[in-house]
Assembly symmetry: C3
Homo-oligomer: 308 residues x 3
């Protein structure tokens, strides 16, 4: 199926499921919801549809964002999560989803600590699967809301210079963003200590910038990733102070290039990858990303509901 | 109160609360909801009523099933659970329910690890109580959805040969099913290792079938129970392998009698009480049971709401 | 802003935010909701507004009360709580609230183990903040529902003799009630062992009654507080038996003065601060307080929603 009003695939597992036409469709729909969101009114796109929020990995902002998106489209939503060991086995997970499916639950927003779980569920059940983050693999709705934020700021994505900075190795946000930004014709570069870059980096063929100074100079946009402290414990980083010095973004660097756009998927470790003062900088779009996130997820739920 | 459209009791604590007329009323209502369930529409039977889902014992499928049933009838629902030690004392539990009652919450779906808690609450509060499983005692909505599934498959319950297999001793599902199936005129037999049968079995006066081969030969329906692994630790079973050999249901046994109906309350331990391949067998009605479960619970909530 | 239909402040952090006019406005609104609450109907005061229930400290009754109040005003509500250590730092808490704000969530009902958190959030975010209990500081909605209960029982608050009994030292309920009752012209006295009275008691300038007998004799109303058992462990009380003897309320004491009104914020330790038989006494208004609590919270959500 592929016409002007329909996504090319009946699910969203990764950023590579999306054609430029799909992205345009999603952005238009998100913009429509944004323009028409009024206090006291709801959209009825998902009326009578039940959405399962199946978060097998703790999440606050992404879960709330999807929950609000579902509510504002008049969906019923059920939350479903488990740390039960029986659910760590794939077979049992499928049985659980098939059980919920049998209760007339049609759409599944899935987050899981293991890469590939959304794909596994999509191939083994009939529900519409929306990946809300799987392991180190993909987080496609984050990439879409990031791209939407850039699109609205710059009026285009084609030719935009975006540098992704920080812990690339463990980041599903980085993976999804690299794929989507290249689909849309942006130029992507990376900036990260060598130990936090994937080994088989050549599959991406991306320029590596040496430090944040170089990144600030080159980029239109800095997408800073969250440093996960446990990386240090595993010996991948000598010290947070050192990481912060070479790969953290300081207020001074920003002052030199005020037109530079800063994004971060959150939550931010202020003082580590980002100076706190940077957050009040006008081109720091972190809050805007969050606002757009709800509208992007409304767009996706609405467009994917056509496959229910 | 007992007329054509009203249940004979203003609560559902156990299967013995139900007359054949009650069961017919519930089945008709469930069938009505099933026939008229359309995407984009809700029933308004519980509009303005607040249902408390008071699950004091972990549950996924039963809780979701009731939650969806309540939503699809336009009820408000609140979830209420506690592992707090203060709530293990009966007196405190009643105080808690009276407090929630004082907030204009009218119906209570109660699951508790202790047998008799729903009865205790029903006699000490004014709320309409619906037992969602109490200890080893009763799980009447499971029995109703099982019976409804059989009724729809065979067109009758009278004279149907149903064998309940597995851990009868600890099973509230078995207890409720035995009562309800006999109320409806079915023939019930059991198939279980001696250590997993109740000691005072003579109160039921039911035939015991020696092994699954005998059960398959005799029965129209096999209702297989979940084996709880902790039974083994407590010395009631020599090994899972041995249990599985004599009391597990294999693919070969089914192939011999394809018209045999298989049911299981879930979640299934595949490879223990049931061969995984059996699950795709046409007369394996496990998913159908789940689907019917929501409609049966909608019927019960709707019929019991008349007593609010 | 201060006219006949608007609260004087766009938030509720403590009882001292409220003028007598505010209290009258809240009572009138609560009474309106009480008179017009009908099964099958909802009020639409908060339609399209999203209320975050941010309970960083465990709560059952207050959380359910606010949740029901929000639902009955047609609000969307999201629950948000965390025991995560990252959220114990104030800075991170503000970032979390700002993130949720960016998702178009307008009102925040906040409970936190630390005194001052609601104030901290109110001064650092744009959301409408409603304090649902912070540390040992304030619990203003409890004070309002207590005052409303007394107002409806006596027809006035002016000149009413209210004795607050029990663990004053650790009680936010006591603090909020003292402030609000004095705002409304009631006479307040305290009755508590010396170790459970605040050291700088002179700031209140309140009479201290020696024991419950004296309190029963003096008061129109006894507001009994919950004794938290951990007080004993910390050496503030010699034994529960002794506390109960001198500061617990017995059935006999009530029998002597049947017109005395008894209140308690719940949950009650029956047998410690209150004889169980007292709970069925006609002027024991504990259940009434709970019922009024939902209407008071509806009134507050409705009145504060004008500042969204």
């Amino acid at each position: 199926m592929n016409n002007d009003n329909t996504l090319s695939k009946p699910y969203l597992l990764g950023a590579d499921d999306l054609t430029p036409q799909d992205v345009k469709l999603i952005f238009d729909k998100a913009q429509f919801f944004m323009d028409n969101f009024k206090r006291g009114e709801k959209f009825s796109d998902l009326k009578g549809i039940t959405v399962a929020l199946a978060f097998f990995e703790p999440s606050t902002r992404t879960k709330l964002s999807f929950e609000l998106a579902a509510k504002r489209l008049s969906a019923d939503s059920i939350s479903f999560a488990s740390s039960s060991s029986s659910l760590t086995k794939g077979e049992s997970l499928i049985d659980t989803l098939r059980t919920i499916e049998a209760m007339n639950v049609q759409m599944y927003v899935v987050r899981h600590v293991n890469s590939g779980v959304p794909l596994f569920l999509q191939t083994n059940t009939n529900g519409v699967i929306l990946n809300a983050g799987d392991g180190k693999h993909e987080h496609p709705t984050q990439a879409l809301l990031d791209a939407f934020t850039l699109y609205k700021h710059f009026g285009k994505l084609q030719g935009l210079k975006v540098c992704i900075a920080g812990d690339i190795l463990h980041s599903r946000v980085a993976r999804s963003n690299i794929t989507l930004l290249r689909t849309m014709g942006a130029d992507v570069a990376l900036c990260s200590p060598g130990t936090l870059l994937p080994r088989h980096l050549n599959i991406w063929d991306l320029p590596i910038l040496e430090n944040i100074d170089a990144a600030v100079e080159w980029a239109d946009v800095l997408l800073v990733l969250r440093l996960q402290r446990e990386r240090m414990e595993s010996g991948l980083l000598p010290s947070i102070r050192e990481f912060s010095k070479f790969y953290g973004v300081s207020f001074e660097q920003f002052s030199r290039k005020p037109e530079l756009v800063l994004m971060h998927p959150g939550p931010v470790n202020y003082g580590v990858e980002l100076d706190y003062r940077v957050s009040s900088y006008p081109n720091c779009l972190i809050q805007t990303q969050v606002t757009h996130g709800v509208f992007i997820r409304m767009a996706l739920l609405s467009l994917l509901s056509k496959f229910v």
